[in-house]
Amino acid sequence: MLNAWLYIGLFTLVAAALPAIAIFLAGLLAPKKPNPIKNATYECGVETVGPAWTQLRVQYYLFALAFLIFDVESVLLFPWAVAYQQLPLFAIVEAVIFLAILVGGLFYAWRKGALNWQ
């Protein structure tokens, strides 16, 4: 398994290095004439108001929350899915119950209106 990971590590290095080198070379080739107007933050031609790192609405958090729960849950299901062919009915029913509990959670969030984009 370590060999496979060695390949992935090398591949990642190559995949990151190639674009990085390309950008570096392009940076050498490209003209460099910065001026304050050009470097100003783009805001449809209007003067920039306030810091850019503004406040968000809670909506984003709620979606991220639902995602977090379902992500962790599906990760737990992957080992189960691998063993699925060798499992007795009891174990399958157990996983179905596991899923059903989370469907309940989804419907709670739905009823509560957490899944409506405002």
Binding site: Y7, L18, Y42, E43, F63, F67, S74, Y84, W117
Partner: protein, 409 residues
Amino acid sequence: MAVFWQDPITFLRLWLENLLLSWGVPADWALVIRFAVGAVLLVTAALLLVILQLWLERKLIGRIQDRLGPNRVGPWGLLQPIADVLKIFTKEHITPAGADRIPFNLAPVLSVAAALMVWAVIPFSATVFGADLNVGILYLLAVGALGELAIILAGWGSNNKYALLGALRTVAQLISYSVPMTLSALVPVMFSGSLHLSVITRAQEVWFIVLAPVPALIFLTASVAEVGRAPFDLPEAESELVAGYSVEYSGLKFGFFYVAEFLKAFTVSLIFAVLFLGGWRGPGAESYPVLGFVYLMLKSGIVYLLMILFRGTLPRFRIDQVMDLNWKVLTPLALILLMVIALADYFLRGTLPLVRILGLLCINGLAYLVLDRVLSSRERLRRRLVAQPVRPVARPENLITSSDVGGRS
């Protein structure tokens, strides 16, 4: 010993290995060199593929929209993308004032790298694959997380309100759609009993799209959304968010976001082909692995053409529609289908293959029909008013009358 015309890549690999060993390179280092050469070749091939994709997509979208598409540079405009690449290569890199330098410059690199990393585990034919990880599918899903990180880096590093809002909105969309994607990716794992992509491919005597058409459909929809292409192209909705997280980028840095997008479009087609369309499987692919490569590329090419068709013909969704489609249709559908298939396949797996296929097909169809009815009736009850009531459209025959009366509303 592989014969060249049966399996050229294995042939070359063995040749390189023997060459290195005959030069007296230690076995470990020979392995590292072989891996590195393979990685460089594969990355280059993937990036060159993007150039072809750029041409194909512009040409086809042009034809769909009744235009010619690129037709000036080279025969049929074939050299147009190369001209574009050369042009973008020499454009100035503008760094906006107050940008957070390291995240700003890291973002495009990470974005392309995340799209490329998928290629490391894809089994291209019976004998050619990079890394046969024992967690292949999870790796594919996890690499997507790096892409999300890159988008956040871009949005934060730009020091721009539009960029940040666009980035967070994009990430909200991406993470939402990865839920049904992960859930429907569980189905091939259940059928094949492994996370190895090579085993999943081999297990598909019957393509999994036949055994589980609805999860496959969910996976396809979710992967179109993951790529952020039309009709899910809100991240770069010019009319709403200027250009999303890439507003402040210019030159090749901007170009790489573009490259990453096109690359992702092809990699999700590749993933779909591996998980649901039998990967490299096809007549004669076992004994002639080079055929398997051709089959895989054909299959993913067809999925990719389908995505171009979506892009050319479907109007863009609103953000609330995007979220509703995911959380109120795809996710419950995927969850319930997973339960149904898990139970059904337990009872069907001892029976004849044909019975199993037909049974699973029926159950899929039935579950889809029932759930579609249930979910859409809920939707109809709770549909919220977001736009004005319908106003009369100005047509040649009612142009004068409607303006005289001032419209029906």
